[in-house]
């Protein structure tokens, strides 16, 4: 295999770039011998799904992973550049309509994509990509006017625009109905005042899918989603938030002061924003869960590799039953999560409501990610506590899963609604 080894050196200089030499190598071998997850998945995936993953894997190995350490340090990754590369490969609009540059494929392709993005050596970049493909654009693609789609969706699919989703505010993230930002009609425009908090891609975005109150009245029927160009006067990106994880993804706090945007920038019907957003959340949640599976798998395998090499008390760490059994247990849990995701996707693709299952996926992914990263980190001992190994990065990055995009408790509330066990809110006296 002499040439094989030579190619390894020449084709993948990536390995030399990566500071985490030992670790990244370990993870590389993991990817290659990755579980053939997509090969046998209840008929969900085809050869084309696999080819999509192969293309994405090449892009990750060449254009993303070699730079992740640097981006983590700088606290931002070049979204424009990375998105353009992905856009050129046709990967930012797999489920979007063909008239706007998408491929019009079903959601199974989004899930294959999300799973493969899990081979990126951090949580931040996949999250930013997910914001573009599955969080800020689904409602626009489904309900937006042709004009809006040409102006905002097409360039987001080609990778010329970076988008962000503006739902959460200082006053509330979980309670979406309580957002305070207003868009008041005046002379054919909306005048926007208020602010958004925790906005992923916020410092780099060309436009925001903004949730704002467009009228007085009941909280579930007074909101609209609006396409808001981020270069308008009155928009201030106040600060980039310093976070414990997802460090290469920029998270911004943004203020609006008398920002003027034409009324035709509203997505679909005025007053339907809350409903659209709840629909949009479903894809976001499934995407988030799907993007979790591969890294957890990779972590389990790399931890086993590490424990096989590490000798403690005279024998490989891995020979302790408590370790190899624990890893087997975790691997089982990951496969359960994967199956739940595939079931939800199956339902979604066949047109059924997946709210209940998607909420379960999101809940389980968040909980399991915490369990797997914590358990694996433990087995790396003191090394696990350093920033030299990927396990600590994922330990930090994945802590977000139980909070962002609807906290675990919010998922539980949704599941309870479907179980008819959620108490009615107390009558206001």
């Amino acid at each position: 295999m002499s040439t094989n080894m030579l190619l390894n050196k020449i084709v993948r200089p990536s390995r030399n770039f990566v500071k985490l030499g030992r670790q990244s190598k370990r993870l590389c071998s993991t990817h290659v011998e990755r579980k053939k997850s997509s090969d046998n998945s209840n008929g969900l995936f085809t050869e084309e799904h696999q080819q999509l993953r192969d293309t994405l894997k090449k892009i990750i190995d060449k254009e993303i992973n070699p730079y992740v350490d640097q981006w983590e340090q700088e606290g931002q990754f070049p979204a424009k550049k990375v998105f353009k590369t992905l856009g050129n490969a046709g990967l930012l609009g797999v489920t979007k309509p063909t008239e706007y540059g998408g491929l019009g494929l079903d959601y199974t392709y989004s899930v294959a994509l999300a799973e493969e993005l899990g081979n990126i050596n951090c949580g931040g970049v996949p999250m930013a990509i997910g914001v573009q493909t599955d969080m800020s654009t689904p409602a626009l693609a489904k309900f937006g006017s042709d004009k809006l789609k040409r102006e905002f969706l097409a360039p987001s699919i080609s990778g010329d625009f970076v988008s962000c989703i503006g739902v959460s505010e200082v006053g509330g993230g979980s309670d979406v109905a309580s957002v305070k930002t207003t868009a008041v009609k005046k002379d054919g425009d909306y005048i926007i005042n208020g602010g958004k908090m925790w906005i992923t891609n916020g410092a780099q975005a060309d436009w925001m899918c903004l949730l704002a109150n467009t009228s007085e009245g009941p909280a579930h029927r007074n909101k609209s989603l609006i396409c808001l160009p981020m270069n308008l006067p009155g928009i201030t990106v106040a600060k980039k938030i310093d976070k414990m994880g997802m460090r290469c993804s920029d998270t911004a706090q943004i203020y609006f002061e008398d920002v003027r945007v034409p009324q035709d920038h509203v997505i679909g019907e005025e007053g339907m924003g809350f409903t659209y957003q709840m629909l949009q959340f479903q894809e976001e949640r499934l995407y988030g869960a799907a993007a979790t599976v591969q890294p957890l798998d990779n972590l389990i395998t790399s931890t086993a590799d590490y424990c096989r090499q590490r000798k403690v008390f005279g024998s490989p760490l891995l020979n302790n039953q408590t370790i190899h059994f624990r890893l087997a247990e975790l691997s089982t849990e990951v496969e359960c999560l994967r199956s739940l995701i595939y079931r939800s996707v199956g339902d979604y693709v066949s047109g059924q409501d997946m709210t209940r299952l998607a909420s379960m996926c999101k809940l389980k992914a968040g909980r399991l990610a915490r369990e797997v990263t914590d358990s694996c980190l433990q087995f790396w001992g003191g090394m696990g506590f350093t920033n030299e190994v990927l396990v600590s990065r994922f330990y930090r990055d994945f802590r977000l899963l139980s909070i962002g995009g609807g906290a675990d408790e919010v998922m539980l509330s949704i599941i309870c609604k479907y179980m008819n066990t959620l108490p009615k809110p107390p009558k206001q006296k």
Binding site: T3, N8, V32, E48, L52
Partner: protein, 255 residues
């Protein structure tokens, strides 16, 4: 150029990044459940052909892969990269284990003649068996000129001017078409198959043939006695300074 046809070889091999393992019974290496992809040198060959077509130097590209059913995946990748149609010369997995460059060369030369190809481009070698024979043998069987280890291909007055990587450096030669070329690593950087092209590739023609359709007998004439792991590399040592390194090398009698 109209009517200029390029034939490219696309071998399916174990992915370059996989740690290859020898089978316990030492009859070969483990291939089951292992990621495979197109031989990287063939990817370069495909890329070069596609670029020639984009520059209107060629009108049609045909990809050929010999081997088991899964070779069709490799051919689909070639189609997604821009190849026009594909020929899969199917063999039983068992037969394939003993298939040699001579068999593939016979098949390729037959197809080149049948399809009236003007140019055959194959990788300079495959990263699994490292044979480096198929291109040369194909040229010989066809009695066409060959330009191996190409790192630059240009058209000059109907001929091809090919820069080759040789031990001493670079050599440029001229060949008349029809010819056989083999691609070296630095010829180009292959593109990614984009998703739109992956989907389009599904509809491109792929025909399945048997070696016997080309009158090629692939009965093995040799037997694999044993496949062994390379000897394990001994652990290295870290040295603090150049001086220490030199001392150690002297001690070992290496300088």
């Amino acid at each position: 150029m109209s009517g200029f046809r390029i034939l490219v070889g696309c071998k399916r091999v174990i992915d370059y990044a996989v740690k290859v393992r020898v089978k316990p019974d030492k009859t070969g290496v483990v291939t089951e459940g292992v990621k495979h992809s197109m031989n990287p040198f063939d990817e370069i060959a495909v890329e070069e052909a596609v670029r020639m077509k984009e520059k209107k130097l060629a009108s049609e590209i045909i990809a050929v892969s010999c081997g088991p059913q899964q070779c069709q995946e490799t051919l689909r990748t070639a189609l997604a990269m821009g190849v026009d149609r594909a020929i899969h010369v199917i063999t039983e997995p068992k037969e394939y284990e003993s298939m040699q460059p001579i068999h593939v060369s016979k098949i390729l030369s037959k197809i080149a003649t049948e399809e009236k190809a003007d140019l055959v481009i194959v990788g300079k070698q495959a990263i699994d068996d490292d044979c480096n024979q198929t291109g040369q043998m194909t040229a010989s069987l066809l009695d066409w000129p060959q330009a191996t280890f190409a790192s630059k291909i240009e058209k000059s007055n109907g001929d091809l001017s090919v820069m080759r990587e040789i031990d001493g450096g670079l050599e440029t030669i001229k060949v008349k078409v029809p010819a056989v070329l083999t691609s070296d690593l630095r010829l180009n950087e292959p593109r990614y198959a984009t998703l739109p092209n992956i989907m389009k590739a599904k509809k491109k023609p792929l025909v399945t043939k048997k070696p016997s359709d080309y009158g090629v007998d692939i009965t093995p004439r040799q037997e694999i006695v044993s496949v062994e792991d390379p000897p394990v590399r001994q652990a290295g040592q870290k040295v603090e300074s150049v001086e220490e390194l030199v001392t150690k090398l002297k001690e070992a009698g290496l300088v």
